[in-house]
Symmetry: C2
Subunit: 352 residues, 2 copies
């Protein structure tokens, strides 16, 4: 599933295949009439992400059944600027209903850390495993004991599991050991967690501690994917808008590349190759992102809050080509009609 390397380096830009955000947070995902989806896809394509996988848990609405999925799908008709797919969230009671939407979503999400509606019973997880197609992705935000628990259940039921937004030393070590022992587990880390910690934001317990953050960097080989996730939105507090954090992703990573902490290969694998393979995503043809990696610049305050304002960064997105047309040039969206597609039903498996 991995395309041969198709980027070239020049002294100014690097060209990568269209990037993938496997955890796009859309606050009003299933809120009737919300424009959040449109805003998130627009910001995504401008930031180099031509494919997003949308988390089923928004800020005040979730996709848990056919009705809420219909709302999300309807909202997406307002304008999709990149390809996308939906997921459905498991609840303690919806294992039976989920089969009606299985074909229309890309993955099942098992939430363990959501204020209302976390699932935490072994029986619930098993009930969902029993009805979810064997080859379709399953994701979870489980941590600590819950994480160990669901890793066992996935292993006993022979399911692949993707763990989202790992933030602690214990969890990344557990995942690394599980991989070593042959469990079919993959994981992502929110890009913000690699560059921000509770040392700077003591009140934000969703961030790693400085010690946890060091452990994440030390276990880079166990991190399959870099994601955006809901963390920027949580961190922004009252400043939160649906698009927060999206534009920061590539500059943060390419600044780390310039500092020698990451390679271009590290980034491409975790924002394209691995997501494509893990989630069996379609290849996006004539879709690329060109990144200016040489010129440092100071991040200026703009309409979207960022904790990195005033910082010297690298890695500005200079051009995004989507399906053969230039979608974005030097940060400006082109006046082209949105042509992102709902790829939820895409599968490499004829049997799924």
């Amino acid at each position: 599933a991995i395309q041969s390397i198709d980027y070239k380096t020049s002294h100014r830009t690097i060209t990568l295949p269209g990037l993938i955000n496997i955890a796009a947070f859309v606050p009003g995902i299933a809120t009737r009439g919300s424009h959040d989806f449109e805003k998130v896809t627009k910001a995504s394509i401008a930031a180099g992400f031509s494919m997003i996988r949308i988390m089923p848990l928004g800020f005040d609405s979730w996709v848990t059944d056919a009705g809420s999925l219909k709302v999300a799908q309807h909202n997406s008709l307002m304008g999709a600027y990149c390809d996308y797919n939906f997921a459905v969230a498991a609840t303690n009671t919806n294992a039976d209903q989920i089969q009606h939407v299985t074909a229309d979503v890309g993955s099942l999400f098992l939430p363990f850390n959501h204020p209302s509606g976390s699932i935490n019973k072994v029986a619930t997880v098993i009930a969902h495993f029993a009805v979810w197609p064997a080859h379709k992705p399953i994701m979870t935000d489980a941590k600590t004991t819950d994480l160990a628990s669901i890793l066992l259940l996935a292993s006993l039921h022979d399911r692949k599991l993707h763990v989202m937004s790992v933030t602690t030393k214990d969890d990344i070590k557990l995942i690394a050991l599980s991989k070593e022992k042959g469990l079919k587990v993959t994981c992502d880390v929110s890009i913000y967690c690699l560059f921000l910690s509770q040392a700077e934001f003591p009140e934000c317990t969703a961030l790693p501690t400085a010690d946890d953050q060091r452990a994440l960097w030390n276990h880079l080989s166990a991190i399959d994917v870099f994601s955006i996730g809901s963390l920027p939105y949580q961190l922004a507090g009252e400043e939160a808008v649906p698009t927060v954090g999206i534009a920061d992703a590539l500059p943060l990573l390419f600044t780390a590349v310039a500092e020698g902490r990451l390679t271009v290969e590290d980034v491409r694998r975790r924002l394209h190759d691995n997501p494509t393979e893990i989630f069996e995503l379609h290849e996006q043809h004539e879709t690329t992102v060109e990144i200016d990696v040489d010129r440092p610049y100071v991040l200026q305050a703009g309409p979207v809050w960022s904790p990195f304002i005033g910082r010297t960064m690298r890695g500005a997105v200079s051009r995004v080509t989507f399906d053969g047309s230039t979608a974005c040039l030097d940060g400006e969206l082109m006046a082209v009609p949105p042509k992102g597609m709902d790829m939820s039903a895409h599968s490499l498996h004829s049997h799924s």
Copy 2:
């Protein structure tokens, strides 16, 4: 490690090898000057149990370090009427201290459901696995998510794990599935849980529901051991004494044998063969228990509370022979000096 079958059936009595209670609850286990140990061993030998494994968590004291173990050992000098061994309980902070008592206890207990001092962090469990000898038994009372979690950790760290006092359908199913998939897990069920449920005692959530109890019976093949545990003490409430539940064990089981719900073989395996094998216990020579299985009798009220007073039972213990001498005849203890031994340091492994 399993002795050949050495019991004979007559029309009146069955002779079994000395039985083992792998979960003896001693309320004042580590309370200075407590006579609870003496009382429990006396009641045990009278009830056919010639070997007991003592839970490290008492009612108001625990064995968690060298100091508390010393108190427990000292209390045992007041009189041990059967063989016994001690265990040590893991806490969130004692992984380092436990190595000083490893040689003097028979097993490590990982408590997940104790009011004060449950361990619940993955890191704590791993810290204990790191220092506990590979071949010494590890026990836990973990349930639901915690159970799944510790099963994974035990599997990743290649440890055998014994799960104590399973009470729910979900847990016994999870254990049965784990066994099927090759995990090294064993379990016990408290004898009270096979015969009492929340249907009769709605306020006692430590008992299984009627539905859970049915599931336990339906998964009998996944239950390695029958135990006594702390459940009788919990159930007795204000009537609780250290010896509650001990004398009820064999009559309950042999009444079930008479009713065709269990075989003698089922009982012998779960009170002798399996405990011996799982915990690598020593063989007790010239130690037997004779059980009158024919004559039904009505259980009379006595000094020790029982929820079965007035019920018609079978399976009275007619004689217990301990180390070649008759220790008990028709319920009366013989006037022989206590000669139970501390078998905590016994091991079949030269390497442990």
